[in-house]
Symmetry: C2
């Protein structure tokens, strides 16, 4: 089987992706953002704590700050008697210290007075008079307190460059007094829809016309994966028109995706436009994957450019296989185990499925729980149908040289 550049073998998904990743030159820019806008942004620098957290030893209980050694051996019937030296007020530095045999009333979060190294809970004390308490149980040094710097120390690396910021990370940043940080700019992705028959969602249809589906779903996929989608509009299948759209897009975006182009000769038109727009141009035209075979992968002056087939299911599969990893490079995010875990789940196949060997087959499936086991149910239908995607929860892959899979096989479902 020849590919569309006349090569003897169509590239495998892996070969095509490798070619693309090696040819794109990706240097995400940095920007300064507020932590209140930082959720899910990618850190462009390590975060180093500028201070100890907490900055002083704090109580984690309501009770009495003590020197632990003064409570050793205390029990009911033989309590330790301690003199109340004062009370710690919240948010204030205690202006007294604990002497041998002394104690200070303290609430959760209060600052330990000098010489105190533990807190006895109220429940384990009883009042003798206004100046004295009995302690009924011993505490160990460090008990019921968080020591100064126990959460983190000045100079500790709290978060790593390339990490995606989660809710608790924003909390930690606030905790160490970092209100602004350096993050990568979100990559801009231009989407060019083509096709003389394609009209926008809100336009009434004439016979022979269809509405643009792909630039809507593609925009959402890009936003979900950390990019900014720039919908450029719908363009006629003419060289000059498409050429101008591609040049304009290269001017404002970091990645360009051209969807559709399904008229006779349009596939060649897209390739011709890309090759005219700059070097190296088209890297591959055709990949052994279904759906998505006729796709174009290209790089123009370092920027990745895609020519995507018009079928809705092909858009989802080629996005997952090619655009998503390239987009991830552009976001600056480092791959972590947790990402893979969140994206996939193991299930058993509910029906036999066949596949022509010689291509990687991506089958849409919905998930069902039957007798406490998870089953993947193939959603059948042509790759031109958008509703098959609406019914599906994810996809499974039948590898290049496998003729199909039997009912009951354990499969890994890539979740939408």
């Amino acid at each position: 089987m020849k590919d569309m550049l006349g090569r003897e073998e169509v590239l495998s998904v892996e070969e095509a992706r490798k070619l693309l990743m090696e040819s794109a030159s990706v240097v995400p820019a940095e920007c300064r953002i507020d932590i209140t806008d930082s959720l899910n942004r990618i850190l462009s620098r390590d975060i180093v704590s500028p201070e100890d957290l907490p900055g002083f030893s704090r109580s984690t209980m309501d009770g009495y700050a003590v020197s632990a050694s003064d409570t050793f051996g205390a029990k009911e019937g033989m309590p330790s008697y301690l003199n109340i030296a004062g009370e710690v007020f919240m948010g204030e530095h205690p202006d007294f210290e604990i002497q041998k045999g002394g104690a200070a009333k303290i609430a959760t979060g209060g600052m330990l007075p000098a010489n105190a190294d533990a807190v006895v809970m109220f429940e384990q004390t009883s009042s003798v008079n206004t100046d004295m308490i009995e302690v009924l149980k011993p505490v160990a040094p460090g008990e019921n307190i968080i020591r100064s710097g126990e959460d983190c120390k000045t100079g500790d690396v709290i978060l790593r460059k390339g990490g995606r910021i989660r809710p608790q990370d924003v909390g930690a940043l606030a905790g160490i007094g970092i209100a602004k940080l350096w993050a990568y700019e979100k990559p801009k992705v231009a989407i060019i829809a083509t096709g003389d028959e394609v009209v926008p969602a809100e336009r009434p249809l004439k016979p022979g016309q269809v509405r643009d589906i792909n630039s809507y779903s593609l925009s959402c996929l890009i936003e979900e994966n950390g990019g900014i989608a720039l919908r450029q509009g719908i363009f006629k299948d003419r060289f000059e028109t498409l050429m101008k759209a591609v040049e304009d897009s290269l001017g404002e975006a970091d990645l360009v995706a051209i969807t559709g182009g399904s008229s006779v000769g349009t596939k060649d038109l897209t390739a011709k436009v890309i090759n005219t727009a700059g070097k190296p141009g088209v890297l591959f035209h055709g990949v052994s994957v279904k759906p998505g075979k006729p796709m174009i992968g290209a790089v123009i002056n370092g920027k990745p450019v895609f020519g995507l087939p018009g079928h809705p299911a092909a858009i989802i599969v080629t996005f997952e296989l090619f655009i998503k990893p390239v987009l991830k490079l552009l976001t600056g995010e480092t791959d972590r185990l947790i990402h893979k875990i969140k994206r996939t789940v193991k299930a058993k196949l509910l029906k036999n499925i066949s596949s022509s060997s010689g291509r990687e087959d991506h089958i849409r499936v919905s998930l069902e729980e039957i007798d406490n086991e998870l089953w993947a149910v193939p959603v059948l239908g042509k790759s031109g149908l958008i509703t098959t995607l609406v019914k599906a929860d994810g996809t499974i892959v039948i590898p290049l040289r496998k003729p199909g899979m039997e009912k009951g096989t354990e499969v890994e479902v890539e979740l939408f």
Copy 2:
């Protein structure tokens, strides 16, 4: 063990949640939104297709539209000869029909002329002259086409009320010409931080002061779960101050979360304020869970109100157990299998862990892959430490009456 309302037994997580869900009266409002703003929004009405998709039979290949019966028996050496009746132009209604023995040039996406019921791919034809082709392989009726209404029909329910809108759903909406839709309003959640010792992230610290961590991480958790976070500020632990903050918050939000309140007597203060603000007031004060035990669950005039402990880890756990399910009710989203699947993963425990029985213990873990197996590594540290959450990928639960778990046990990790 008595709870803080003096009941003999502290409520279990399940009992407390049930009490809360039954007492809150939740009627999410509707609003009209554009599909380009609809990703991850919740549908407040079923989506019914107003038209057939596609509205006409379309080719899925570049080739010739034919009447399939004219190709039956065709093979190399004995082809069917067909007369070219015309060419289908993209986006136009063909102004001719296919007669017996006729064919029309057509591109992917083109509208089939009358009487055509299949498409022969170019690769399986050859040109005899400008008016005639040979067909080298038969096609079946319906082959290489999508029939009118094959994707969906007028009146089909495409998406269900209560569903969260995904990228492919936005594509499907565009495809059937729905550019605006009815969705639930996002619920507004007011966050009140309390504590005389607490200052905002950007403020320098005096001795005894700490920065607000919880309202930052809580805001992000709310936004991630489909709500709008309204950070109301940091308030002093005084009855009038807190009362005004709660009343103002009830005026503008659908749910109120009060964090902190760690000074002596503050826990009682929060409960007193809630009970003064309206009925039924505090439903439970104390739950048998660690971390998070001293939390308050309340309802005021139908609106859920939470009094959350000050420890960062307690915030995350109580959010997951109580606020998240209530927030989900407020968003109008219907629970689906896929949500549970995306949220949890099975792993083996890497170390023994102990737990005091009589409370549900939530242990923070990080995930590691060792020899192709997934392991959960407990992240040890007091629940007052925010960095333990930064190091963790999720939590595991040790149930109420279990003293601990052994190394190697299979655990279900609730992912962050």
